[in-house]
Symmetry: C2
Subunit: 295 residues, 2 copies
């Protein structure tokens, strides 16, 4: 087993998600909070310009710029493309066998009611092992995964071989909420605790299986031919991330008050329901399927 | 009694408050919904460029540009200053004895839990009469007021002699919520119903007094010398607009988890608690005092 030597906690990848930005501020002021004996913890505000502006990004979404292909493409010249290459050099480089950082946890918040969520790479055993440990200590935790290879992942946390996107909500963009701030902090502390035990071979046997919400499929809002939204997320789903949806359940409600129902026979679990930042991406929610994975 | 001939419903004064924008869309598509026999209803998206951008404003907050002084100041050249003069010509002009619109309701949403709220001018008897009628039909309604003369008011709704700012929350910026959408619509319909009865002398005797939250005082977040927030809104207040606050009640909680208490002996009722758009204005909340006003 290879020891984890350097962990990065990153925040402000989206400049209007204040929880991570202020947690990094807190840790920078009190580094002992994130210090452990067996590894070094590195703290970073990733998109400083977006943080100053109080916007998600300056020119493009930084958390969609870290595919291997885009990192290698020198013709990409937006503020975030250039920033991504700089961050990749500092924390990676991505794909390296000896990257500067072994594990990245990138702090996000969402306007969707996702509670405490970890976005993991299903193929990475270490991430799944951490997730299982955290789930045992924080039972409300949910874990979702994305499809594909690490090299094609575009997230900050995909720079290192293992890592998480941490999503906590619901919370509006541009605000701090004490409950969400302290929950996110507890989650970070639990992850750091895992690695201290991991490095010192002190981990007790963890649970051997875990539920993961996977293979996300994009669902857009019903729209007219001009692209205007014609129906909103149904109130049943609004503050109910990971709710099981079965055929005949209401999904949207039109501006005129008519329900639109889920029509498929496959049971799905919507996540990122009504995330503000996804309106421009044409995403009302993602449908996931719940799978039990053996660790 | 002077009849009300023209009412304007305006939305998108802040381009990231979607409720009003989409309600105007709905009404433009189905004008009969806001049609009444005794007056004309005019519909308007006020800040079209900010709506397209999905931002609160382009260069400055449009809903702070309508003081008489600023409307008359030709040296003000931001996008919103020029737009304000155009809107003032269309809906006003402000201060005219014969303005184009008699009553404006400007639709807003807030990340603060204000429920259904009306912002009124305490000196305008007609507005108070409408508010009283609405409160009788929608008991959850709250009414707050601002200090000062109409000419010094900077809001869109201050262009006409009478009018409201309608604030509904909590809702994140940049999203639609079905519950808030339909509640706001019901509020608008109730106001239109009032004017139909008013114009046809069919109003029944309404309640003779009403509670109003007035004389708002700005409260900023505790900050360090660099302007960084050191404490968040206390969880007790977070989703509790208009909560009575008395000496010794928790007000903020520091990033380190220490409570900061309200120390004054005057009982206050915080509003606009943790509104995202007010972070840049240095406002964590407003303290109001509850007054019972005779109508």
């Amino acid at each position: 087993m290879k020891k984890i030597k350097k962990i990065a906690i990153t925040g402000g990848t989206h400049g209007n998600e204040l929880t991570g930005i202020y947690l990094i501020n807190k840790f920078l002021k009190n580094p002992t909070l994130v210090k452990r004996d067996s590894f070094k913890t590195f703290l970073m505000h990733t998109n400083v310009k977006a943080i100053k502006q109080g916007t998600r990004y300056v020119q493009r979404d930084l958390n969609r710029t870290f595919t291997q292909k885009e990192l290698e493409n020198k013709s990409l010249k937006t503020y975030e493309d250039i920033l991504a290459k700089k961050i990749n050099k500092e924390l990676g480089p991505k794909g390296s066998k000896n990257p500067n950082i072994d594990f990245i946890m990138d702090l996000h918040s969402t306007t969707a009611n996702m509670g405490l969520s970890l976005g993991v790479n299903l193929k990475d055993k270490l991430s799944l092992q951490v997730a299982t440990y955290v789930k045992e200590h924080i039972p409300e935790l949910k874990i979702y995964s994305w499809r594909g290879e690490l090299k094609d992942a575009s997230f900050v946390s995909s720079i290192s071989p293992s890592g998480f996107t941490i999503e906590v909500g619901s919370i509006s963009q541009g605000i701090l909420r004490a409950d969400i701030f302290f929950k996110t902090e507890k989650l970070i502390q639990t992850i750091l605790d895992f690695f201290e035990l991991y490095n010192t071979n002190s981990l007790k046997k963890t649970c051997s299986q875990i539920d993961i919400y996977c293979n996300a499929k994009i669902i857009d809002f019903p729209k007219d031919k001009n692209g205007n939204i014609e129906a909103m997320v149904h109130p049943n789903l609004q503050e109910n991330g990971y709710l099981k949806l079965k055929k005949g359940d209401p999904l949207f409600v039109s501006l005129n008050g008519n329900n639109i129902y889920y029509e498929d026979i496959t049971e799905v679990y919507p996540i990122f329901v009504n995330e503000a930042a996804y309106y421009e991406k044409g995403i009302a929610m993602f449908f996931t399927e719940k799978k039990t994975i053996k660790i």
